[in-house]
């Protein structure tokens, strides 16, 4: 496999997502230098964010995030490569990293199923895949919890939410989801995965649907955590 990778690297060399430094066959996505720059939010920050984003609605039982989005350029580049350069492998990588970093916390939740926050069919057709699904897959591979796509469906097409504030987002996302496979979640503990959590509105709405459908507990997990004041999102130009 390594040999195969080396041959592929000759024809299609891989470079670090952030600093464009060539990678060797053992490295993935980020070069060692950039990997060392990644840091995770402390338990205090997570607790505070949980209280601020999810406690009011009380659908979500606990929250965890592996990385901080804004301050970490490396993670931002990884997420952008996933969403805008359509490199779904970045999702799996993020999931595995998250599973590794948050291992204790997630295992403590004793969840039965990992569900990615779904994309609207149109959005999915445009991007080609649901990025959260690949993060879920990564975590699932790392920790051995099952994941299943298509349990919830997004029925309302919402434009990008980046320019909306917390309240507007909440109103915007209302009734956007529908539960498709109720049997699978009844009396189960569920982990909801999103790539980036900003205000938590989307996850809250999903959690509401799940709880109303009979889920026992719902946990929220995001690869990266972003503050609600965060405004980025001009799509980076990528070569086609």
């Amino acid at each position: 496999m390594k040999f195969f990778n080396q041959i592929l690297d000759f024809f299609l060399p891989r470079i670090c997502v952030t600093c464009n430094f060539p990678l060797n066959a053992n490295q993935k996505l980020l070069c060692p230098n950039c990997v060392t720059q990644i840091s995770s939010p402390s338990p205090e920050v997570l607790q505070k964010e949980y209280e601020r984003k999810f406690l009011d609605d009380s659908f979500v039982n606990d929250f965890a995030a592996a990385f901080i989005f804004k301050s970490e350029k490396a993670i931002q580049d990884v997420v952008h490569s996933l969403k805008y350069q359509r490199r779904f492998g970045s999702g799996v990588w993020l999931g595995k990293m998250a599973g590794d970093i948050l291992q204790n916390k997630i295992l403590n939740w004793q969840a039965d199923l990992i569900l990615p926050v779904p994309l609207h069919t149109l959005k999915k057709a445009e991007r080609g895949f649901n990025q959260s699904y690949f993060i879920a897959k990564g975590i699932s591979k790392q920790l051995g919890v099952k994941t299943k796509p298509g349990v919830i469906k997004r029925i309302k097409f919402t434009e990008t939410q980046t320019h909306l504030n917390s309240l507007e987002r909440k109103a915007n996302i209302r009734n956007a989801f529908k539960l498709k496979k109720q049997k699978l979640i009844k009396n189960k503990s569920i982990i909801l995965i999103d790539d980036v959590v900003t205000t938590g509105a989307t996850i809250n709405e999903c959690a509401r649907i799940l709880k109303e459908g009979g889920a026992l507990k719902v946990f929220a997990l995001s690869a990266a955590l972003a503050d609600y004041q965060f405004t980025s999102s001009r799509e980076p130009k990528h070569q086609v």
Binding site: L8, F10, F11, L12, P13, R14, I15, V17, N20, P22, S81, Q85, R86, R87, F88, G89, S90, A125, G128, F129, Q239, V240
Partner: protein
Amino acid sequence: MNRFPVVNSIIIFCFGILAESYFKFITDKTIFVIGTLLIVSTIIFLIKKFPFKIKILNPLIYTIIFLMGALHFGLDKNDTVSYPFNTARLKNAAVFGKVKSVELPQKNKLKFLLSVDSIHTQKGKIKRKFNLLCNLKELSNRKQNAILQKIRIGNSIKISGSIYKPRNRRNPGEFNYEEYLNRNDIAALLSFGRKDSLSLIEEEPNLYNIVADARFEINRIFKELNNEKASGFLKGILLADRGEIDFSTREKFVNAGVVHILAVSGLHVGFIVLIFIVISSRFNLYIRSAITIIGLLAFLIITNSPASVVRASIMGVTLIITFLLNRKFNSYNALAIAALIILIIDPMELFNPGFQLSFSAVLSIVAIYPIFSRGIYKFGIKNQWINKLLLFFSVSLAAQIGTLPFTILYFNKLSIIALFANLIVIPLVAIIVSTGIVTLIFYPISKWIAGVYAYANDVLVSWLHYFVNFAGGTSISHINIFQFSILDALIFYTLIILGFYLYRSLLSPKAKVLFIILLSLNFALLIQLDNSKLLPDNKLSIMAIDIGQGDATLIKFQNNQTALVDAGNATKSFDNGEMVIYPLLQRLEIDSIDYGFITHVDADHYRGFFSLFKKGIIKKLYKPVLDRSLNKDLRLDSLIRAEKIPLKYYHNDIISFGNVRLYVLNDSTSLKTMNLSTNDKSGIFKIEYGETSFLLTGDAGFKIEKYLVNKFNKFLNSDVLKVGHHGSKHSTSKGFLDAVNPKMSFISAGVINRFNHPTPEVISLLESRDIEIHRTDLSGAIIYQSDGEQIEFINWRE
């Protein structure tokens, strides 16, 4: 670039090919050199603690790649084909062989490639293996269908016809058809007349028939649903068969700078990818990628894989695979992979115009477009549409810059309106291509719906033609550039690269403008360094143009005035005026002919003039006195008057061109000459420049020769004689030759003409007097130059 080993490798590989093509240094021993180098580098690679491992290994590996490129080309070059017989034509031959490939049928025409096994002629059986391109013309529909059934790929057949050598470069700057065919492994041509027959010997199933059938079927559907123009065009852009797009249409596309549309280019592959991605958008990632790759491969096979499609398809597949493997796509790298695959399959592709145009276009788009787009964003134009328009322009401009040297080299034209024309043509062609594909998809479902789309396409294609005719039909659409060499192309690229590097380092806008002006001035000067005129100013040049059987002699006088004595024949299938003389004049940068001379009214002397009249380049015309008993003469006369060209009949004339004098030796009042045949009424010209002189006698026979000798005697004495009547046995008498007493002579005759010109008698007569002979049928165009003291024979092939 260090990050992409394939990019480095392919550049070095190309240099290897180029080096071998120029210096031919590859021998049998090169392979041992490569072997040794390989072993050495493997050993160094395997020793873990070798000092300066990378520093030594890198140059070693690059040397190996360089040598491999050279070796690959050297080995490939060894088996080049050439015409396998001594005689230029083998009449009534029966050829046995296997059908290799069949071109799409055209109206009453068929073309297929035969892998010959043996040939039977009257003299006996010849066993020779080569590829023969069979041209079947003037077929009835029924016969065409019957033959199509027999010539399926793989079948063994017997075909009768005459085998002939393809036309090579006959005149300076002309396209070398023979070389082109030889490069494509075709050694000879076969013409199939009405009396010839084709019979099937043995059928053999062959997988290629599936592709051929698919192509035939698509062609048939377009023929059935679309009108002639649209089906010819669709055939060109979807099946890469330009057989039904005629010469003048193509020229207009060249003038408008949109000829890349006619070749199935990467652009079409882009459309195909887009169409498949849209069709399969509902499926998951892997299925979607697989469908798109399969679609690309199908398109590649259907188009018979020209270089541009192969390139674009490989790039497309690379894009999909990098996506699936979660690697970052890099255009340079994908381009390099495409080049590597194409050149490993066939290193000769490096010299294929299609390959060169395709790669230079993409390379410069990839390299230059980002610079332009950054510049456009810097302007900060608010209007989205204007921005998009500018970006579109810059893609076009980038492609134009990159392909410029190649387009000038191959088309001798620089289109001025290309940027604007592309703006309209590219979207239009995108719609035509997709409508064409939709037509094909709907055909099996509902002919009616397919027909509606086809009708829409007819309209779109006619719009396209209308626009291109309008844009490319004007003379201001393009500049003709004939003096452009490979050296100029190298200068161009060097300056462009240098320009971009320096441009970035200059900060003040004034400096940038100044820099660009200086750079373009430099370019204008540099490309003129190696320019030289074939027919120089300040000299008298006489050139026998090779127009096959017939006469056409171009004279450029010392004062830059020009004359054309005869213009060869023009038939329905081949017009010498349009196809040979006019392009030649353009290449020689001669805009108009000051004096046209029709020696006499015979098809092989005057018909070529018609298209030149139409182009308005003949300023004044001389011809023999009107013979009212001759219908063709009456018609010719009225045509000349209709074109309003000043006309004079031959009669004892002296025309001065600076220091050169042209004497017309005909006497239209002399009954002795006027009662003779048309041939004998030929214009007789003596051209004198200083101490040198030339004599041209048209098709004049013995009687008029005798008359001339009696009348002018010593005055006929000339250095160069254009041997009368293509060297026929009815001309060039001993007495006449005594009077003229030339040192050199030239004969204008077609290769293996049916009159057997020139006759051995005349040749031996000339040889017996030690007169140098040059023949157009043997060596193509003939050029003499005189500076007033000496006459020099010019070998233009050097």
